[in-house]
Amino acid sequence: MSLALDDVRIARGPRTLVEGLNAAPPAGSLTLIAGPNGVGKSTLLDALAGDAAPAGGQILLQGQPVHRLPLAQRARCRAFLPQRVGIAFAFPVIDVVAMGLAPFGLSPTSGPGKAIVEAAMADADVARFAARPATQLSGGEQQRVHIARTLAQVEAALASGIRHPLLLLDEPLTGLDYAHQFALMRRFARAAGDGASVFVSLHDLVLGAPHADWLLLLAPGQPPRFAAPAALLQPEIIAAAFALSPCEAARVLAATGEMTSRPTTAIAAE
């Protein structure tokens, strides 16, 4: 199953943020959604997740408008990590991660469910404090717990025979240190390699571009652009999209360029 965006219009209240968006990244690829603050990345991801209908056009999953799919069915074929998720009571980290298994009825204490939870905790580097209340962790650590939960959900989907689940991540790496940013970006790329269709919004091209199969570039007042990263990582395009001086755009591209020169697969295999 893959996601197809057909002439999508995204609006927040009366204000149109994105218009005329067409994109159909193939299943098993990673799409980086980039653009300056307030350009509509989060609103677009909400629509991709099916939380809200797009203001215009269609977002199709399995050929059906994604917001019309029943909640339970949606939960089995897409994992979504919005920004700023909290946790209300002092649940131990392992319990929070195991919530990712909920749509599948997998037991977290035995068999595949247990393996999925443990692997997700290891990937997000939260296994060390598995028994600690998530509420006592720092902001970055809590974010990693929720990343682990989302990874567990997508892995459970793969394990349940859903070959191309959606993995939607809204600014997942904000507030994390460098080591975890790089490691988790590699992990998201690996999910795409395993068959998931991954959409990650980031404002950091340097971090995201090396792992992206596709780049969806949103900029205020400009039509959205969906293309292979190399086609969009051009000085004038980046300078215009992010309102940078030519010198600043060159510096950003130098940082991404050095890494895009290496194939994604080689980086993912590290």
């Binding site: 649940f91 131990p92 909920a102």
Partner: protein, 355 residues
């Protein structure tokens, strides 16, 4: 979810939820025995056991006192305590806030308003109601009042989030309580002296006037609602993530909110019909249980029910004994214990940055 952390290595032989269940079970047995034995007339343990076993007690009046007075009252205390504690846990999960409680949010006042309406006006409509349904009149009116209050509270507050959510929730409670209080005031203004007396006992919360006729339907409603809440344990865990993330895990949060609202209204309505307004059970019990056994609702809900039964049966014992031969309304005992606990909880949250 029974916490998975319990499955991690380096745990003692008895998990914390299991230890708490054991302790509460012992406390409940002690409370049952004390409740049956103690009172204006003391009854020996041997006689209590004889009556429970169906044998003839040494003291012939023991059977009448136990089966006619103390037994039903104890059953009511345990059922109301368990149900109110469950209702508190459900409201807290729904509001994602440990301070949410039917009393503080005005749901109990709504139920009391319904009950007051029945007490004052019920006599004049009683002729129109089939006789079989009459015992249900009071619980039903309490339920309807609770539903009205909870619809108001949920519509105003359940979706709010962020740092102001606690503040908003408590302010909504103040508003609903004030509104209900004003209407109850009106009802008491037009009430006759007898009605007024019944009304004021109601407002203070007492198990002294539990009527057998009301007891059975109320117990039925309480068990139904408790079972309804128990089926949602897993969903309540997911709700801790917030509404949208819970939906992303497939949880129909709108349906859950309606279901829980209905169950809480049933509990509060039936409890108010039995005993009047008893506050703070739903606040204190879940808080203590969460501290000891963790927040996972699959362990929390049964423990909370057990804890509620222990707390209210002990509070009622105190209410009966402190001023012998008279007695204090149990609602007042609970408020004396609960209000300071609530303030301490609130202060702890203010210090931790009100959230």
């Amino acid at each position: 979810m029974a916490s998975l952390a319990a499955s991690l290595p380096r745990q003692p032989a008895l998990s914390r939820p299991a230890a708490l269940a054991l302790a509460l079970g012992v406390l409940l047995l002690l409370s049952i025995m004390a409740n049956l034995r103690l009172g204006a007339v003391a009854i020996s343990s041997a006689d209590v056991l004889a009556v429970l076993g169906g044998a003839t007690p040494a003291d012939p009046s023991a059977e009448l006192v136990l089966m006619g007075i103390r037994g039903p009252r104890l059953v009511a205390a345990m059922a109301v305590g368990a149900a109110l504690a469950l209702a508190g846990a459900a409201m807290q999960a729904l509001f994602r806030n440990p301070l949410a409680e039917p009393g503080l949010l005005g749901v109990s006042t709504g139920a009391a308003l319904g009950a007051a309406g029945w007490l004052v006006a019920g006599g004049s409509v009683a002729a129109l109601v089939p006789a079989v349904l009459l015992p249900f009149g009071l619980p039903l009116m309490g339920f309807l009042g609770a539903v009205a209050a909870i619809v108001l509270v949920l519509a105003l507050g359940a979706r709010s989030r962020g740092p102001e959510a606690t503040l908003l929730m408590l302010l909504i409670g103040i508003g609903v309580n004030a509104m209900g209080g004003a209407l109850i005031g009106m009802a008491s203004y037009v009430a006759t002296d007898t009605e007024l007396r019944a009304l004021s006992t109601w407002m203070m919360g007492s198990l002294a006037q539990v009527e057998q006729a009301v007891l059975v339907p109320a117990l039925l409603l309480l068990s139904l609602a408790a079972a309804g809440i128990a089926t949602t344990a897993r969903s309540l865990d997911l709700l801790a993530l917030g509404e949208a993330p819970a939906q992303h895990l497939g949880l129909d949060t709108d349906r859950l909110r309606r279901l829980l609202g209905l169950m809480v209204a049933l509990i509060v309505g039936a409890a108010v019909a039995l005993s009047g307004i008893i506050g703070f059970v739903g606040l204190i019990v879940p808080h203590i249980v969460r501290l000891i056994a963790g927040p996972g609702h699959r362990a929390l809900l049964p423990l909370v029910a057990l804890g509620g039964a222990v707390l209210l049966s002990l509070a009622d014992l105190a209410a009966r004994l402190v001023a012998l031969p008279a007695e204090v309304p149990v609602g007042i005992v609970m408020a004396l214990v609960g209000a300071p606990a609530f303030l301490a909880l609130l202060l702890g949250r203010v210090r931790g940055g009100l959230q």
